[in-house]
């Protein structure tokens, strides 16, 4: 399922490392960049490139928060629920996004655009409540700001359908 071009890129990445396994997370993040999540086939192909067994790679994939082992939307919204964001109303943010983007908490919207998940402190406590969407962080969330972000992402997506 991985394109030959992507595989070549991954091989180059791996070749740079002290030992192939070192690049396991990078390889998975790179695959997710194109395919959104790590399907079983992707795991098998990636582990092959890394010289690991699929189980060994899965030991890592299932450990980490930002590696997805089940299908996710084009945008994975991680809303921080740790102390400061919690204090500043992370629940309201979750609820608002859930209704606004028609995405169940912990699930994916029917149009496949958004997945909504809680996440541990993302290090933007000074800008609580905060969230991270596909490696970008948004802080000091208000309903208006959330509207703008979601609209923009939905708009972007029309021009860049994911692979």
């Amino acid at each position: 399922m991985l394109s030959e071009e992507l595989k070549q890129k991954l091989r180059t990445m791996i070749a740079d490392a002290e030992s192939p396994r070192e690049k396991a997370v990078d390889v998975m993040l790179e695959i997710q960049e194109r395919h959104l999540w790590m399907s079983d086939e992707a795991m098998e192909e990636a582990s092959d490139l890394l010289g690991m067994s699929p189980l060994e790679l899965d030991e890592l994939a299932t450990f980490y928060d930002f590696i997805y082992r089940s299908p996710v939307g084009n945008y994975v919204i991680h809303v921080c629920d740790s102390a400061m964001c919690w204090l500043e109303g992370h629940q309201r943010v979750m609820d608002y996004i859930s209704i606004r983007a028609n995405v169940p908490i912990g699930g994916t919207s029917p149009d496949g655009l958004f997945t909504l998940l809680p996440v541990c402190c993302i290090g933007y406590c000074d800008r609580a409540p905060a969230m991270v969407i596909n490696r970008r962080v948004y802080g000091k969330l208000t309903p208006e700001k959330i509207d703008r972000i979601l609209d923009k992402l939905a708009g972007e997506n029309e021009f860049h359908p994911p692979e």
């Binding site: 079983d40 795991m43 690991m52 067994s53 699929p54 189980l55 899965d58 030991e59 299932t62 450990f63």
Partner: protein, 827 residues
């Protein structure tokens, strides 16, 4: 050696002993889950907490993580420590399903024991229990993750100890899960150890599951007879059936573990699931008779034949699955009665290799499996450990984990659970490769220091081995061998040339004389091949000669004691004809073999679980297996019959030695022989030294004194003579599928590998064949059809054919065959 005080008791222990083990030596069993002697300490479960009162550590500490040191005062009963351990149990139990009544681990569960002993009886945790989904792990191991206490023993055993990579920890925090990437059969042929190593009931033994509670089992120490290694087991029987086999710790042999063939291949003793696969009753001419009738018939027929044709018209066959008792009796009878034999092997070449191996072992050089673990360089010559002696592969893995270099010289597509350098030499080249490797490791100074015999031997070793094919540099490996301190040579006796075992011994001896602590370990072909070699003289007849004599009519009777030439002999047609010429064929066995089916008289013998018996493993270790149960047709599958009878159905079997003695009608045999121990000692001088009066003997090693100056001049040239054209077809063994008791064990059916013929990928390409093709291999008179499996990791010019069910290799006519390319066709 540090001295410390634990619970007011003082003890001195070797440096490096963990406090938990020091306590155990005092008889104080500190609770533990993650700690296991074979796996080492990782400090995960925190169950072994004790209080350190004085010394370099203070307060609550994990006793598995701390080495005993001088001046330590440790309390295991300190209130704080006890409270903490209680709490650990409480934590571990918050998610446990408390399903002991339906759990097969019940009664042998470390978690159960430690929960009860901690006094934890009430679950106070108010939350919900976490639950998991289980996975299908194959026909041997059931998975019940809810019982897991996350001690990591399974994944540490599976990945670190045994070297497989398809079971491990997934997820994080309290969602931690031990399983596979996807459901499916565990790849490791050592998976059964998960059952033993798991301290609770996550992994349970499927063949035994839901059948019996631990405390209802009859259990005895036993020995595995599937391959030659003699791993120690515990047999568990119930209602006349062996239910399961567990590993029994023997630090010198198998450690704590077993392979799956040995663990799960027991069902032959029950006659399979329907019990119908075992010949339970005596027979004359195929009709059921009483055991007395069969005994009387055989003994009268034997005396008749002896009277008419002379005793040498009777021949006795034994095998490498006979107990030492049976072998000694056979040997005694042949001598006393003048019968021919005993013949132990149908393949005379194998017999000669085993004999030369056993002759060449001496106590200074023969290592145990345990000692292999401490080797820093292992040369495996002509042996496929995983398939021929599975637990030996695990021993070599332990050496590999300690960074030993492993070199395998073998034509087969060897796969082993560790990294190794593979020189895919054809059988005729193994000696050259081994010789040049060893020669290259002897430095000039070392050479100078050798005595003349050793020097001569070393000089005669081939200097060079063409290593272009393997791409492996023998000189480079020789340098590493030179630097090693404790090299071990593991030598096979299957596909190698007849002179190889002796050469391996000489090589080990040379390494030893050049200042290393070198060791030697032979892979032998059966549970008692070592003792058969000790029991036979150099002039013993081979099976082929015996066959000719039958054909010529000079042999009239054959006694097959747990021996089945139909399985082992490569020319079935000839065998068929010959045996039908006999006046008498007496078969004594517990397996439903072809020979049993054709016997004029059949007598059922006892399996290893049904008698006391002795076996000698390849390092000369005498091991005693105790009777587990009386045997008989199991009453499994239905409620025990309510008919009252005064006999046990299927209870006619008796040890083969006893049957032999009875049919020999040789009262005089026991005149001068009082006990079994004396019988064995009389036949086998090496046994005498172990103290014959003390039968049973267990764990003594009987390695004969090495004859002096035994360096043999090595062959310097490749095997002489015209090299036949075509491919050398090699018959080999395969785990689960080849060895005799295993092929009759239906518990292994789920894992029988598909029959295959292995060929080098380039050879195949040249022949226009590809992987997965079904090919027909033309033999005289017929041909065999088999799936082709190609590999780059094997020798060219050979065909590897594992002997297994589903392949009629007995059409080959000879043990080794050369097959012309044209005779391999794709169909």
């Amino acid at each position: 050696m540090p001295r410390l005080v634990i619970d007011d008791l003082e003890i001195e222990v070797p440096k490096g002993t963990k406090v938990i083990d020091a306590a155990e030596r005092l008889g104080i069993m500190i609770p533990r889950f993650c700690y296991h002697e074979a796996l080492g300490a990782v400090g995960a479960c925190r169950m072994c907490a004790v209080k350190f009162i004085q010394g370099p550590f203070k307060g609550i500490q994990m006793s598995c993580m701390i080495d005993a040191q001088d001046g330590m005062i440790v309390s295991t009963t300190d209130q704080e420590a006890v409270d903490f351990r209680k709490r650990v149990i409480e934590w571990l139990m918050i998610n446990h399903p408390h399903d002991c009544p339906v759990c097969d681990e019940g009664g042998q569960c470390l978690l159960q024991d430690e929960t009860v002993s901690s006094g934890h009886a009430r679950r106070r945790y108010p939350g919900k229990k976490r639950t998991y989904r289980n996975q299908y792990l194959g026909p041997f191991i059931a998975h019940e993750m809810n019982r897991c206490i996350h001690c990591y023993r399974c994944s540490r055993y599976y990945q670190e100890f045994s070297g497989y990579r398809d079971l491990g920890p997934l997820q994080i925090g309290n969602r931690l899960y031990f399983g596979r990437f996807k459901e499916g059969r565990l790849e490791s042929p050592y998976s059964g150890n998960l059952v033993d190593i798991c301290p609770t009931g996550v992994y349970t033994d499927i063949p035994a599951r839901y059948k019996v509670r631990r405390w209802d089992l009859q259990r005895s120490p036993s020995v595995c007879i599937h391959c030659a290694l003699g791993c120690n087991t515990i047999g568990n029987a119930h209602y006349r059936a062996v239910m399961r086999v567990e590993a029994r710790m023997n630090p010198y042999v198998n450690g704590y573990f077993l392979c799956d063939e040995g663990r799960f291949g027991f069902s032959y003793t029950n006659g399979g699931a329907d019990h119908a696969q075992r010949p339970w009753t005596s027979k004359i001419g195929g009709a059921d008779v009483t055991v007395e009738a069969a005994l009387a018939e055989s003994s009268s027929k034997l005396s008749e034949i002896a009277a008419v044709y002379g005793p040498e018209a009777i021949v006795a066959l034994g095998s490498a699955r006979n107990s030492l008792e049976t072998q000694s009796m056979l040997s005694r009878l042949c001598r006393r009665k003048g019968w021919l034999g005993p013949v132990w092997f149908t393949d005379t070449a194998v017999y000669r290799k085993v004999r030369s191996a056993v002759e060449r072992l001496d106590s200074g050089i023969a290592v145990s499996m345990r000692e292999i673990e401490f080797a820093d360089f292992v040369i495996i010559a002509g042996a496929d450990l995983l398939n021929e002696a599975p637990m030996a592969a695990i021993a070599v893995r332990q050496a590999s984990r300690k960074n030993a270099q492993i070199v395998v010289i073998d034509p087969r597509p060897i796969s082993l659970p560790f990294e190794f350098r593979h020189v895919p030499a054809v059988p005729g080249q193994i000696e050259r490769c081994l010789g040049s490797l060893v020669k290259g490791s002897i430095s000039k100074e070392e050479l100078k220091g050798l005595d003349s015999a050793a020097k001569g031997f070393c000089k005669a070793l081939p200097a060079k081995f063409g290593d272009k094919e393997s791409g492996i540099s023998i000189p480079e490996l020789a340098d590493q061998l030179m630097a090693s301190r404790r090299p071990v040579i593991v030598c096979g006796t299957g596909i190698v040339s007849e002179s190889t075992p002796a050469l391996a011994a000489d090589c080990a001896q040379l390494l030893r004389e050049s200042g290393k602590k070198a060791g030697l370990f032979y892979i032998l072909p059966g549970a008692s091949s070592f003792s058969s070699a000790l029991l036979s003289g150099p002039d013993a007849k081979g099976f082929a000669e015996i066959l000719s004599e039958i054909e010529q009519g000079s042999i009239k009777a054959l006694i097959a004691a747990e021996s089945d030439p139909f399985r082992d002999f490569p020319d079935r047609e000839r065998l068929d004809k010959a045996l039908s010429q006999l006046d008498l064929l007496v078969a004594i066995d517990y397996l439903p073999t072809e020979t049993v089916k054709r016997a004029s008289v059949f007598l059922p013998s006892s399996t290893v679980f049904e008698m006391n018996s002795t076996f000698v493993n390849p390092e000369g270790r005498v091991q005693h297996a105790e009777r587990v149960h009386a045997g008989g047709v199991p009453i499994w599958g239905a409620h025990p019959p309510r008919i009252v009878r005064n006999f046990i159905p299927g209870g006619d079997h008796q040890p083969a030695w006893e049957i032999l003695w009875k049919i020999s009608a040789e009262t005089s045999v026991l005149e001068s022989v009082l006990t079994l121990g004396e019988l064995i000692a009389a036949e086998m001088p090496a046994f005498e030294a172990t103290g014959k009066a003390q039968y049973p003997v267990n764990q003594a090693r009987i390695i004969p004194e090495k004859s002096e100056g035994s360096f043999v001049k090595p062959k310097t040239r490749p095997e002489q003579g015209q090299k036949p054209k075509g491919f050398n077809l090699l018959l080999t063994d395969r785990i689960f599928a080849s060895r005799e008791p295993s092929v009759y064990a239906d518990t292994l059916e789920g894992v029988f590998p598909e029959p295959a013929l292995f060929m080098h990928s380039e050879d195949a390409a040249a022949a226009g064949l590809s992987d997965g093709d079904t090919v027909s291999v033309g033999l005289e008179p017929g041909s065999i059809e088999v799936k082709l499996s190609v590999s780059e990791r094997m020798a060219r010019g050979v065909l590897i054919l594992p002997r297994q069910k589903g392949i009629e290799w007995q059409r080959m006519k000879d043990f080794s065959a050369w097959i012309a390319l044209e005779r391999i066709r794709k169909i």
